[in-house]
């Protein structure tokens, strides 16, 4: 029985945290912070316990009938634990960071409430056991992130919020149509859309294959809005007006990852990789993802603001996950899945750094970063590590992803993907290295634009600095200790192993 | 053609006329009168038609009595609100 309730507990930690935080009056800072952090720590512990259980072949499943013939399923499998672990660890880091970032800002109760709600939805997405449950939490995520995007209440952020809604609600509607058609036309019994039941779609009669082909792309378009596949990515750079912890959360953990995770689920747990390969849906998606990778990098080159450049970098990097998921063969799969985690920790580091520069020195433009390395060494080291990881310098996390993707592409007989990877890495270098050059080798140009926090014992306040350092350390560790049993790579291999050997 | 059917047919004519009046009249008082006329037409059908088809029947009489009570109270309420409305400066023929 505890096994069935474990997913509920994991979901409830952030859901209850959200409700409590909403009801707490604005002035109860200490209570709110304590509660929020203990919920985050508790969640990591619970996820850890479940991860160990999964590794030992335990089942965690909670289900009940929500509508006639449709179950609400929360189930932990290896893939969901990957995403759950990412979001629970980064929840703690971003919460700490946000507490420092929003010190003395108004409406914190609302902010942290929706922040927790947003994490609850990502938890739901990771634990969803069928397409229907996935859809529920996918939409909840849209709703809980909107207040975060418009949090500042300025005209600019409200306009960004409107764009954000247009894209995400539109994507949600398309996804709903896809899911409804999937249940109504293909899967009245609810077995195919159940992520745990495998191999049934291949048994459908051949005349349904055209329909399945079309439905695949309806689902991918719905998911692709959140995963920021070009040209559905328009919301992402604009949503940069949000506070830095929100950007970090949207880009590294919640929204784009939810989309990418959904794509992985659709390919592996609904269509089954082998059947998807036969159906011929993987090649178009791989090409689409490749276009996004190159296009995002090209756009990133043209940006002059730090956060905007990082945003386009996200557009590019998230598509590695989709690309990896399209490579038929275990190695490519590992590459795609492991990048889900690697990109998360690297990107969150970069956004934390961007937030630190903005909060401490008032730096928003890349040209203002000259010489910041000496003023803020730890932040700049973290930024450098994150950037090198993105470029794919060994032995950092990003290198491992790219290595597996490359080998996987050869395995799958899609040699051209190597070209995409090389081109993208060159572009990554082209837009990150100038920043690093400015940070470390250029002299300071006069006073900082707007220095709020003076250098004391450390370069900035601890709550901004330590989460940044921590995530930077994670991204190095993920590369260095890739062979350890609970490293992202080993876990991704475990998922792949279970996926390919039923 | 019995007298009962006559009742029903006359009722239908009254309904048609009063529906026209209800829609075309602009004065709210006239509309209320048209409503009362329309009610009478419906009651005529209600008594006439069943008696024409199934012979003398007590049920429609009871129904019409109830209907009249309801119509009277509705008219009373309409009059009260209408008077208030006019007294507060509203135009009775908008």
């Amino acid at each position: 029985m505890t096994n069935a309730l474990m997913p509920i507990y994991v979901l409830a930690t952030s859901l209850i945290a959200a409700l409590v935080i909403f009801t707490l009056p604005e002035r109860f800072h200490k209570v709110r912070t304590t509660f929020n952090l203990s919920a985050a720590v508790l969640k990591i512990v619970l996820v850890g316990v479940m991860a160990v259980g999964i590794a030992n072949q335990l089942d965690y499943e909670f289900r009940y009938e929500l509508l006639p013939g449709i179950d609400f399923i929360l189930r932990a499998d290896a893939l969901s634990m990957l995403f759950a672990a990412l979001s629970s660890v980064l929840w703690l880091c971003t919460t700490l960071y946000a507490i420092g970032y929003l010190e003395d800002a108004p409406n914190r109760s609302r902010f942290f409430g929706f922040f927790s709600l947003c994490v609850a939805s990502t938890m739901g997405i990771s634990l969803a056991g069928n397409l229907f449950t996935f859809l529920i939490f996918f939409e909840l995520l849209t709703l809980s992130t909107y207040p975060l995007v418009v949090h500042r209440g300025t005209e600019k952020s409200l306009t960004a919020g409107r764009t954000y809604l247009r894209y995400t609600l539109g994507g949600g509607a398309i996804l709903l149509i896809g899911v409804a058609l999937m249940y109504g036309l293909v899967d009245q019994t609810g077995t195919i859309t159940d992520f745990a039941q495998t191999g049934s779609m291949a048994e459908l009669p051949a005349e349904q294959h055209v329909l399945l082909f079309v439905l695949f792309f309806v689902l991918i378009i719905g998911l692709g809005v959140k995963a920021a596949l070009v040209p559905l990515h328009g919301w992402l750079p604009i949503a940069m007006v949000a506070p830095a912890p929100v950007s970090a959360l949207l880009h590294a953990v919640a929204v784009v990852k939810a989309g990418a995770f959904g794509i992985v689920r659709v390919i592996y747990d609904i269509y089954e990789i082998e059947f998807a390969w036969q159906l011929g849906v993987l090649l178009p998606l791989a090409i689409w993802a490749s276009i996004t990778i190159i296009w995002g990098s090209l756009m990133a080159l043209r940006q002059h603001e730090v956060k905007k450049r990082l945003a386009y970098s996200t557009v590019s990097q998230v598509s590695y996950i989709a690309l990896g998921a399209c490579l038929f063969g275990p190695i490519g799969t590992i590459g795609g899945i492991v990048h889900l985690l690697h990109q998360g920790i690297m990107k969150v580091t970069l956004f934390f750094c961007a937030g630190n520069y903005a909060e401490t020195l008032g730096i928003h433009k890349i040209s203002e970063l000259d010489g910041a390395g000496r003023r803020m060494p730890l932040t700049s080291i973290a930024f450098t590590l994150g950037a090198f990881g993105m470029i794919g310098v060994p032995p950092l996390a990003g290198f491992i992803s790219k290595w597996y993707l490359g080998i996987g592409a050869l395995d799958a007989g899609m040699g051209w993907v190597i070209g995409v990877l090389i081109a993208s890495s060159m572009l990554n270098a082209a837009y990150f290295l100038p920043i690093l050059y400015r940070l470390w080798f250029k002299p300071v140009q006069g006073p900082w634009p707007d220095e709020h926090i003076l250098a004391g014992r450390f370069e900035t306040i601890g709550l901004l600095l330590w989460p940044t350092v921590a995530t930077a350390v994670f991204s190095v560790a993920a590369g260095l200790f890739a062979a350890h049993m609970f490293s992202p790579l080993s876990w991704a291999s475990l998922i792949t192993y279970r996926e390919y050997l039923p | 053609m019995g007298v009962d059917l006559w009742y029903a047919l006359v009722g239908a004519v009254i309904i048609a006329l009063s529906v026209f009046a209800f829609i075309s009249a602009r004065h709210l008082m006239k509309k209320l009168l048209a409503f009362n006329m329309m009610g009478s037409g419906v009651f005529l059908i209600m008594v006439g038609l069943p008696q024409h088809q199934h012979g003398v029947d007590a049920v429609p009489q009871a129904l019409v009595l109830t209907g009249i009570v309801v119509a009277v109270s509705a008219t009373a309420l309409a009059l009260v609100i209408l008077r208030r409305y006019v007294r507060s400066g509203g135009d009775p023929a908008p």
Partner: protein
């Protein structure tokens, strides 16, 4: 057990007229508890023992008044009792500023409740008429409560529409009685044939009921009446009153006159619904007044109810069942969500003193709970998960897929985006920090009762099986 549900509200209506004025408020809570308790007990009885009927005063039909309680009616009874209770608690605090109005409010409130219960329980077409008239009269009285000129005009328009509608209905009833010699619904549903008399009767009744349900293009009276009334009145009207005439409409089309209605007529009803969704959403998007926005939203949401007819008539049984279930869920979810929305908006209006949307800036800091309640109810109205509204939309979509009616699929799927377009107007303004108005303090119970209703609308997304299972217990009455 069944007549108690009529006796309680009627008794309290008379009590609140006769007792000294200071007592009318004191008896509200005991009355609500009795009412809610009776509804729940009846629910349990029906759930364990199956549908029941009751002849008032032991007079059998056709002369006597017979009442029928099956799974569907008790669901509606429980819904009514619950929403009425929460609206009444809200009204107790809201009406503190309206000294004169509150003494008229309570008798009307109890009469409204009695007539609603009467409609849900009625087992013949004439009692439905009486219930409809009583309902209309008490609702009109409530709209006119403030005695301000716009309210009186709205009440008059409402009254005239209601009276015209009930007479059209009654004319249809007269034809039915003329043709079949009975008005008892269980008997009629076995006797009624698809001849021309029945079709004329059904058409007359439908026009009347469409007018009373405010289905586009006969909705003109609803926005001023619902948008201009006091907040607890608007909530009751939008959540419950319009549903009563829809219930009768559904009864006639799917049960009593099932053989007389045609597929093309059902498609026409669906087209009216689609028109309602478009027109209501567009007006909600344009209006500068927050309460009018919510009222136009009701016009639009009623359009989804109309989808029942094309989706349930002339299709396979599986598709019809899903359409029916989806409609019920939509009815329930909309009732809770719309009541929550009117109550929360009423609190906001009370706090800033008037209802211009542009002036709602800064309310999120002062009344977070009211805004949160608005947000949750909006989630259900948009049909986003998790909410009762989403489950309803899902079932309607599945039904449209089953019967291959892709045009309705598009309408239902796209309608949610239209809803989003207008409800996010409120969010957008409320997130701005510039406070344009002095914000007055309001009683926290106002926000709490709205929040509770909104939580129920969301919770329905997780407990949809419940009402659906109860609904399955039908007797001879509903399909």
């Amino acid at each position: 057990m069944i007549p108690i549900l009529l006796i309680i509200p009627l008794a309290f209506a008379i009590l609140s007229l006769l007792l000294p004025r200071k007592w009318t408020r004191t008896i509200v809570i005991p009355g609500l508890i009795l009412q809610l308790g009776a509804a729940l007990i009846l629910c349990l009885t029906i759930y364990t023992e199956g549908p029941q009927d009751y002849a008032l005063g032991d007079w059998q039909a056709p002369l006597g008044i017979s009442l029928l309680a099956d799974g569907f009616t008790v669901t509606l009874l429980a819904l009514t009792a619950l929403i009425a209770a929460l609206c009444a608690i809200y009204a107790l605090f809201f009406l503190e500023r309206y000294n004169r109005e509150q003494f008229y409010f309570w008798p009307l409130f109890w009469f409204l409740l009695a007539s609603l219960n009467g409609i849900w329980l009625a087992a013949d077409l004439f009692n439905l008429y009486v219930g409809l008239e009583l309902l209309g009269l008490s609702a009109v009285g409530m709209v006119a409560l403030t005695s301000e000129r716009p309210a009186l005009k709205a009440a008059l328009d409402y009254l005239y529409a209601a009276l015209f509608g009930s007479l059209a209905y009654l004319a249809g009833v007269a034809l039915i009685y003329g043709a079949y010699g009975t008005l008892a619904i269980p008997q009629l549903s076995e006797m009624v044939a698809g001849n021309i008399t029945t079709q004329v009767a059904v058409a007359l009744m439908s026009v009347g009921l469409l007018l009373k349900t405010a289905i586009f293009p006969l909705h003109f009276w609803l926005p001023p009446a619902h948008g201009g009334a006091l907040a607890p009145v608007s909530a009751l009207l939008s959540a419950l009153v319009v549903k009563a005439s829809f219930y009768i409409l559904a009864l006639i089309w799917l049960d009593v006159g099932a053989l007389a209605v045609t597929v093309s007529a059902a498609q026409l009803m669906g087209a009216l619904g689609a028109g309602a969704i478009l027109w209501g959403s567009w007006n909600a998007f344009k209006t500068p007044q927050v309460k009018m926005l919510v009222a136009y939203s009701t016009v639009a949401q009623l359009g989804y109810l109309m989808m029942l007819f094309p989706l349930a008539i002339g299709v396979s049984e599986a598709a019809a069942t899903m359409a029916w279930q989806g409609t019920i869920l939509h009815l329930l979810a909309h009732a809770f969500a719309k009541a929550a929305m009117f109550l929360s908006v009423g609190t906001l209006v009370l706090a800033i003193g008037h209802g211009r949307i542009a002036d709602l800036g800064g309310v999120s800091q002062h009344m977070p709970m009211a805004l949160f309640a608005f947000g949750l109810s909006a989630v259900s109205l948009m049909g986003l998960p998790p909410s009762g509204g989403f489950n309803a939309k899902w079932l309607l979509l599945q039904s449209a897929i089953q019967s291959g009616q892709w045009h309705w699929f598009v309408v239902i799927a796209g309608g949610g985006l239209l809803t989003a377009a207008y409800v996010f107007r409120i969010f957008r303004v409320s997130f701005t920090e510039t406070v344009r108005h002095e914000i007055q303090a309001t009683h926290p119970m106002l926000q709490l009762s709205a929040l509770l209703l909104a939580f129920i609308a969301i919770g329905l997304g997780f407990a949809s099986e419940w009402p659906l299972r109860l609904m399955d217990l039908t007797g001879g009455g509903t399909p």
